[in-house]
C-alpha cells in the first residue's frame, strides 16, 4: 500500500473509534479495517445494533475504498517518474495521560506558592510580554489557530477562529474582551483556582488576548459568590497597574489596555455570554437573541468577544512555548491540556491539570484514588458538568476525555467537570436535583425554558418514587425535545440533556420504580 495513502479506516481515531467504545465484540473489526477489507464479511451477527453501526462503517469505508482506487491509479503514473519515497510519517501517539509537571501550565494550582506578582514572575508570568504584544494581532491569532486551542468554557469552539471574528478595522466603536469568570456550572471549580492562585496568568492572558482582538479594554465578570477570589484578583490587578504591566503603554509596548473587574450576584444564567453582557450593563441577566452576535454588537453595542478564564489564561504560555508544543498533547482537533475537576464518589476528589484525550479510567485511578468501593462500584459518570448527558459504566470503561470522543457517545466534554456516581446513588434523585437547579436558574424570558424546566422537575420528582405511568417516560422525553433548540439561549438544552441521558441509559430503572409503585398502590388498595 503506497505510503502517502491512508484509507479512512486506518486512522486510529477515525471511523473505528466511533464504534470501538460501543460494542466490544466488534473489536476485531479494527484489524481488518486497516487493510481495507470488506467489512461486511467479518461483522459478527450479534444484534441489529452492531449491524447498523457496521453498515455505517462500510458506507464510510466504501467511499474511501473508491477514493483509494482512484488515488492508486494516479500513483501508478507518478511512480514511473522515479520519485524518492517520502519519509514515513512519525508514529501517531496512541496513549494520552501522564502529563509531566514541566508541561503543566497552571503551576500554582493548589495555592502553595505566592500568587501575587513576585511569585508569578518567578513562575514565568509577564516574561517578554512586550515582545509578544509588539508582534501584533494577526500573529497572535494565527498562532492560536495553529495551536488548536478550543474554548474551555463548555462549547469547545476553536479559539483562534473565534478571536479572528473581531473587526480588523474599527468603525468608531471600541472593541472589548470580556472574560467569563461566572463559574456556576455544577461540578466546575477550575476558574476559581486560576483566579485565586494564579491571577497574573489571567491578567497577562487578558492583555494578550485583547491585543489579538484589537480590544481597548477587558472586563472580567466574576460570580458574586467568589468574594475571596475576587479580592486576590483585584490585588493582582493593582500590582499589575502599579508595575506598568497594564493600563497606558502596557508593558512598555505602546498599546493601551485596561482591565476592569465586575462581579455578579448569584445567577447561573449570567454565564451565558449575552446574559453576561446584559448583567455587565447593569440590567437583569436575561440573554439576548443571536444574531446579532457579540462580535458585531456586544457590550454597550460594541464588538465584543466573551471567553472563558482558562482559555485566556493559557494563551501566554502557548505563545511563549509555541503552538506545536500545545498541539502535541491530546488527539487531533482536541489538543492541549485541561483542568479536570473530579467530584462525587471518588476516594479523593480533586482538581488536576491533565492532557486532553486521557482515558476516563486512568484519570480517576491516577489522580483520585479510583471510584469509591472499586471500579465495579461505578454506576454513572457525568463527564462535563451537569449540562451534558450522563454515561453509564459500560461506556466509561474506555471513553477518552476529549470533545470528539465524548460527542461520539452522545455526551460532551463541556467544562471537564467529572461527577462520579457509584451504586449507592439514587440516580433519579440526582438528575431530579439537576432539573430543580435548572428550574431555579431559568431567567424566565422564553416560555419553553420557563415552563419546561418547572414541568421537567415536577415529573422527575414523581419519577423518584415511581408515582407515574409508563407512558410518561416517553412524554418526558418529548417534553425535553420540545425545550431543546427552541429557546433563546442554551440553558434550555442544558436542562433537557441530563434528563435525556437518564432516559437513554437508565430507562429500566425508571420503569422498575413505576412498576413497584403501582404494585404498592394495588396492595394498599386491596388491604
Amino acid at each position: 500500500m503506497p505510503q502517502h495513502i491512508k484509507p479512512v479506516g486506518c486512522e486510529p481515531f477515525g471511523a473505528v473509534e466511533f464504534i470501538f467504545p460501543v460494542h466490544h465484540s466488534i473489536k476485531k473489526l479494527h484489524c481488518y479495517i486497516s487493510y481495507g477489507m470488506d467489512v461486511s464479511l467479518v461483522v459478527p451477527m450479534k444484534g441489529v445494533l452492531s449491524l447498523q453501526r457496521a453498515a455505517v462503517l462500510s458506507r464510510l469505508n466504501g467511499n474511501s475504498r473508491v477514493a483509494a482506487r482512484l488515488f492508486s491509479t494516479q500513483s501508478a503514473t507518478t511512480a514511473n517518474t522515479a520519485q524518492p519515497p517520502p519519509p514515513p510519517p512519525p508514529p501517531e501517539k496512541t496513549h494520552f495521560g501522564g502529563l509531566k509537571d514541566e508541561d503543566r501550565i497552571f503551576t500554582n494550582l493548589y495555592g502553595i506558592h505566592d500568587p501575587f506578582l513576585k511569585g508569578a514572575m518567578k513562575r514565568g508570568d509577564w516574561y517578554r510580554t512586550k515582545d509578544i504584544v509588539i508582534k501584533g494581532s494577526d500573529w497572535i491569532v494565527n498562532e492560536m489557530k495553529k495551536s488548536g486551542l478550543r474554548g474551555r468554557g463548555g462549547a469547545g469552539f476553536p479559539s483562534g477562529l473565534k478571536w479572528s471574528f473581531m473587526p480588523k478595522v474599527s468603525d468608531g466603536r471600541p472593541s472589548y474582551l470580556v472574560v467569563n469568570a461566572d463559574e456556576s456550572e455544577p461540578g466546575t471549580c477550575k476558574d476559581r483556582e486560576i483566579m485565586r492562585n494564579d491571577p497574573h496568568r489571567l491578567l497577562e492572558g487578558c492583555l494578550i488576548a485583547g491585543v489579538g482582538m484589537r480590544a481597548t479594554a477587558a472586563y472580567i465578570y466574576i460570580r458574586g459568590e467568589y468574594v475571596n477570589e475576587r479580592l486576590n484578583l483585584e490585588k493582582a490587578r493593582k500590582e499589575a497597574y502599579a508595575a506598568g504591566l497594564l493600563g497606558k503603554n502596557a508593558c512598555g509596548s505602546g498599546y493601551d489596555f485596561d482591565v476592569h473587574i465586575h462581579f455578579g450576584a448569584g445567577a447561573y444564567i449570567c454565564g451565558e455570554e449575552t446574559a453576561l453582557l446584559e448583567s455587565l450593563e447593569g440590567k437583569q441577566g436575561k440573554p439576548r437573541l443571536k444574531p446579532p452576535f457579540p462580535a458585531n454588537a456586544g457590550l454597550y453595542g460594541c464588538p465584543t468577544t466573551v471567553t472563558n478564564v482558562e482559555t485566556v489564561a493559557v494563551s501566554p504560555t502557548i505563545l511563549r512555548r509555541g503552538p506545536e508544543w500545545f498541539s502535541s498533547f491530546g488527539r487531533k482537533n482536541n489538543s492541549g491540556t485541561k483542568l479536570f475537576c473530579i467530584s462525587g464518589h471518588v476516594n479523593k476528589p480533586c482538581t488536576v491539570e491533565e492532557e486532553m484525550s486521557i482515558s476516563l479510567k486512568e484519570l480517576l485511578e491516577r489522580h483520585c484514588g479510583g471510584v469509591r468501593g472499586g471500579w465495579d462500584n461505578l454506576l454513572a459518570v457525568i463527564p462535563g458538568g451537569s449540562s451534558v448527558p450522563l454515561l453509564p459504566k459500560h461506556i466509561c470503561e474506555d471513553v477518552l476525555m476529549d470533545f470528539d470522543a465524548l460527542k461520539a457517545v452522545q455526551s460532551g466534554l463541556g467544562t471537564a467537570a467529572v461527577i462520579v456516581m457509584d451504586k449507592s446513588t439514587d440516580v433519579v434523585d440526582a438528575i431530579a436535583r439537576l432539573s430543580y437547579f435548572y428550574k431555579h436558574e431559568s431567567c424566565g424570558q422564553c416560555t419553553p425554558c420557563r415552563e419546561g424546566t418547572g414541568w421537567l422537575w415536577m415529573i422527575m420528582e414523581r419519577m423518584k418514587t415511581g408515582n407515574a405511568k409508563l407512558e410518561e417516560i416517553d412524554m418526558l422525553q418529548e417534553v425535553t425535545k420540545q425545550i431543546e433548540g427552541h429557546t433563546i439561549c442554551a440553558l434550555g438544552d442544558a436542562a433537557a440533556w441530563p434528563v435525556q441521558g437518564l432516559i437513554r441509559h437508565f430507562r429500566p430503572e425508571l420503569e422498575r420504580r413505576i412498576r413497584e409503585h403501582a404494585e404498592r398502590e394495588l396492595l394498599q388498595a386491596a388491604a
Binding site: 509537571d101 502553595i112 455544577p186 483556582e193 475571596n228 462581579f263 476516594n347 388498595a525
Partner: protein, 255 residues
C-alpha cells in the same frame, strides 16, 4: 376498590395544591413579589452610611448589582430606624433608585433577579448550604439537617437571637471540596463584610463552626479537611510536586 383509589388520588392532588405556596417558600427560590410588613414597607425611612451610598450620577445603572450588594451588607448606623443586616428593605431599594435617578422598577428588577440579594430578614451570620447534585451526593442534605436541628429553625428562618439563619444555594463552585457551607458575615457592616467558604465539612464540624461563630471567633476558612491542600486530593498532591520552574520560552524573534 377503584372508587377508593380514585378518591385517594383526588385527596393527594388536593394536598399538593394546598401545599404548593408553602412548598415554594421552603425551597431556595424566594418570592418575587413584595408584601408590606411593619418592618419592610416603603414608608420606613432609609439612611445610607458613607460606605455604601451609591456615588454615581443620573441614570447610571451600570454596576447596579454592585451598589445593591454594598447596601445589602449595611448595618445600622446612628439614628437610622431600619437596621438591615444583610438584607434589602424596599425602602433601601427606593432610596437607591432616588440617588441614581432611575425608576424604582429598575432596582426591583435587579434585586429580584439575583439570588444573593435577600429581601427578607436574615441572621448576622447567614449560613448557606449548597444543595446541587455534586454536593448532594456527598451528603449536603445531612449537613443542612444538622444545621437546622442544631439551631432549631426551619430554612430561611432567623434564630431568636438574630445571629443565624440557614439558606440553600445552588452550585457554589467548589464541587471537588463538597459538601460545603458559606458564611455570609453581616455582623460588621459593609466594611467588615466577608463571604467565606467552609469546605469538606461534616455534620459534626459544621456545628463546631457555628458555635465558634457564636463565640465571636473566626474559624479558618477553606477546606476543613487537614489532609488536603485546597483543591488537591486528600493525602497529598499527585501533581505539581516540587518547585515550579518557569517554562522555556522559544526564540520569539525567530518566528
Amino acid at each position: 376498590m377503584l372508587g377508593r383509589l380514585a378518591s385517594r388520588r383526588l385527596t393527594e392532588i388536593r394536598q399538593v395544591f394546598r401545599q404548593s405556596p408553602q412548598a415554594t417558600r421552603s425551597l431556595s427560590a424566594a418570592l418575587n413579589y413584595h408584601l408590606d410588613s411593619p418592618d419592610n414597607n416603603p414608608d420606613l425611612p432609609w439612611e445610607f452610611s458613607d460606605a455604601n451610598k451609591p456615588k454615581t450620577g443620573k441614570g447610571d445603572i451600570v454596576s447596579l448589582s454592585v451598589k445593591l450588594q454594598a447596601v445589602c451588607s449595611h448595618s445600622s448606623a446612628g439614628s437610622c430606624t431600619t437596621a438591615a443586616w444583610g438584607w434589602l428593605p424596599v425602602s433601601a431599594m427606593n432610596a437607591v433608585a432616588k440617588v441614581i435617578e432611575v425608576a424604582p422598577i429598575r432596582v426591583y428588577e435587579v434585586a429580584t433577579f439575583y439570588s444573593m440579594f435577600n429581601r427578607a430578614k436574615v441572621g448576622k451570620y447567614h449560613l448557606l448550604v449548597c444543595g446541587t447534585t455534586p454536593c448532594m451526593i456527598r451528603g449536603s442534605r445531612d449537613i443542612e439537617d444538622a444545621l437546622l436541628k442544631h439551631l432549631g429553625v426551619k430554612r430561611n428562618e432567623v434564630t431568636k437571637d438574630g445571629l443565624f439563619s440557614v439558606g440553600e444555594m445552588e452550585c457554589m463552585g467548589c464541587c471537588v471540596n463538597a459538601p460545603m457551607i458559606t458564611v455570609a458575615d453581616y455582623s460588621n457592616g459593609s466594611e467588615g463584610y466577608t463571604y467565606n467558604y467552609y469546605e469538606d465539612v461534616t455534620p459534626k464540624r459544621v456545628v463546631e463552626i457555628v458555635e465558634a461563630l457564636r463565640r465571636g471567633e473566626k474559624p479558618p476558612r477553606g477546606t476543613q479537611n487537614p489532609q488536603r491542600i485546597n483543591c488537591g486530593p486528600e493525602g497529598g498532591n499527585t501533581t505539581l510536586l516540587g518547585e515550579p520552574k518557569p517554562p522555556p520560552c522559544r526564540d520569539l524573534d525567530a518566528c
